[in-house]
Symmetry: C2
Subunit: 376 residues, 2 copies
């Protein structure tokens, strides 16, 4: 997959995590990159990291830059993305423009609406995109050249979008290491509403309950609660913007979600007062069916077995364990380390193919690793 | 902590994951263990695994056993736990009896109610307990001798419970490697309702939404959605029992949770129609505050920094990375492996103390590991 970079002069507006990471990757790929940010110090910081050079608007240099830029990447917060894209389309009349905001319909609609009806040039030079990468927080200091490696990167062409633009942006995305997913803006927004925005709201609503819980109760918290609330710790101001811009897709999902909560509550109430568990078990089973639809590591829907191994809480133990797993020629599908409040041990959960789990358990046990659980 | 085992003859009723694991650990600690299960083949399987010997009720042997058992461990599903405990109290009049069900008030109340008012002996020989261990599924084949190592194990004494019984059971729990948490039955039920049962229902309600989502949308799923729905894949029949028995604690929490969902929905609706983000940002911030109250690895509330490293999807890579982390003398607080549908790479998220994260990033980078992200 040694594709050549389709744009050699790129201007990036917004040097947060995404903009800076794109700059780093493009510089590495050989592009000439200029940077711009509302905060001059943030742009300077991104330049120091090696993401490009800061664009200072001195007239002659500016004219030269404007005449030569081939691609403008708008990587600003969603609130201002459409405005910045429209400015860029006007300011760099030869350049293509893409954005990387987490919401697409509101951005694409606003950009198209702001182009005058006969301004087909502007309408044909813009493509909305969204890399599903990183934690969407942290600014330039969190940026990394490999941020997009292996991640899905959605592009949302509309009927006006020329195939040449789609081809060039797709090639750029592949050079950055990501995989191209093509969707309409509306399909994108609905997809991220269900896989990202609804979970974010649900995690927040659940985590909110912890504000008033006793420390004794929290001391019993296991991995389940930690997993369910992790994303609620994210940047709440950025999330408020994202959610606002995708409210149209998210609100109906929140409504469906509440219906499921209501069904569970009704079933639990019936179980409690009438002693009938069937409705409750069926409602819980519906959840398990939903989980089974999430694609696995390689895009399939196969199921894996889990092995829980106990390790001492010392550096080196995990490496020793995984070295043994590697020596046994078993490929890990997933793994996680579980906390044990107050205890000097940790639990490593290894997910492997169901075909090898029994052999792995026996072999690790023979090598002296305590096995604390196995499930298929 | 080399404590001696306070019971040398133990009878276990119910040889699922918990009963069999307790048997394995007690046999290893030197106890004489007999096993009993409604399913003779399951009891035989547990015995084959080394969890004890199967108790067959031939009269003389049975009398001898009944006269000599010092502790009966009831490890049956919650629906029948109280009944089995009451039978055990009558059948083994010299023995102490504990149960290990995930709900406590309903079990303890039913046991106490079934003892006749003057039967203070029976009331003083029972102690309700709950080990917070394992995935509560899988039967004897999932059992492991180290299942309880480092886990919290709650005991729920009542006013009648003699201190000697509390002391002996606490010693037993410590011999099995767990840490003793003392609570009232009601406090226990409220605690597990919030840290375990509510998250279970929320995860199910969220996962239920995935039943009708397109595969295109699901192909964008990241770690957030996976974490939020993992526990929804659990044993729905067992969970229906657990939830039914703790409905009194869970229903009010579900109500509070729905209020939080309603608040978020209202704030999102206002953001969407009025363009105001403050209420939404504040509601999301409340979630972040809740998350920060979950104790960390060593029971504290310190925060850790995260480093994301890219690895090839080959066995041995993870071990090589962790070997380097170990060589740099950095202690991992947490780690997880993130999936990348369709991509030949994986992402390893390393959580380390904020003090060492920058050094670790630089050192790993110098050793050739691509760093895909860092956040504090």
């Amino acid at each position: 997959m040694s594709e050549s970079l389709p744009f050699s002069r790129v201007h990036i507006v917004g040097t947060g995590l995404l903009g800076t990471s794109i700059g780093l990757a493009l510089v590495e790929a050989g592009a000439q990159v200029t940077l711009e940010d509302q905060s001059p110090s943030r742009a300077a910081l991104a330049a120091e990291y090696g993401a490009g050079s800061v664009h200072t608007a001195v007239s002659r240099e500016h004219d030269e830059l404007a005449a030569n830029v081939e691609l403008v990447v708008v990587a600003t917060p969603p609130d201002v993305t459409a405005t910045v894209v429209s400015h860029a389309l006007a300011k760099y009349p030869q350049a293509m423009v893409i954005d990387v905001a987490s919401v697409k319909s509101s951005v694409v609609d606003a950009v198209m609406a702001s182009a005058s009806p006969d301004d087909s040039g502007a309408r044909k030079r813009f493509l909305g995109t969204h890399p599903m990468a990183g934690r969407e927080r942290g600014g330039p200091t969190s940026a990394r050249v490999d941020l997009f490696t292996g991640r899905p990167w959605v592009i949302t062409p509309v009927s006006d979008t020329p195939v040449e633009l789609i081809g060039a942006v797709s090639a750029l995305i592949r050079v950055l290491g990501a995989t191209v997913h093509t969707m309409t803006p509306a399909d994108h927004d609905h997809a991220v509403a269900v896989v990202s925005h609804l979970p974010q709201l649900v995690s927040s609503a659940l985590a909110t309950q912890l504000q008033s819980v006793s420390e004794d109760a929290l001391s019993l918290a296991g991995q389940g609660l930690r997993d369910m609330t992790r994303i609620a710790a994210g940047d709440h101001e950025l999330w408020a913007q994202i959610l606002q811009h995708n409210a149209e897709s998210v609100l109906p999902l929140l409504d469906h979600f509440r219906n499921s909560v209501d069904s569970l509550e009704k079933a639990l109430h019936a179980a409690s007062t009438e002693g009938t568990q069937r409705a409750l078990a069926e409602a819980l089973h519906a959840g398990a069916s939903g989980v089974s639809r999430i694609p696995g590591k390689h895009g399939g829907q196969s199921r894996f077995a889990t092995l829980v191994v106990v390790i001492d809480d010392r550096s080196g133990q995990l490496a020793a364990l995984l070295s043994d797993v590697g020596a046994l020629e078993v490929n890990l599908e997933d793994m996680s380390l579980e906390h044990s409040p107050g205890a000097p041990v940790g639990f490593v959960e290894l997910s492997v193919s169901t075909e090898v789990v029994d052999r792995l358990a026996a072999d690790l046990s023979a090598r002296g690793w305590p096995i604390a659980g196995e499930s298929q």
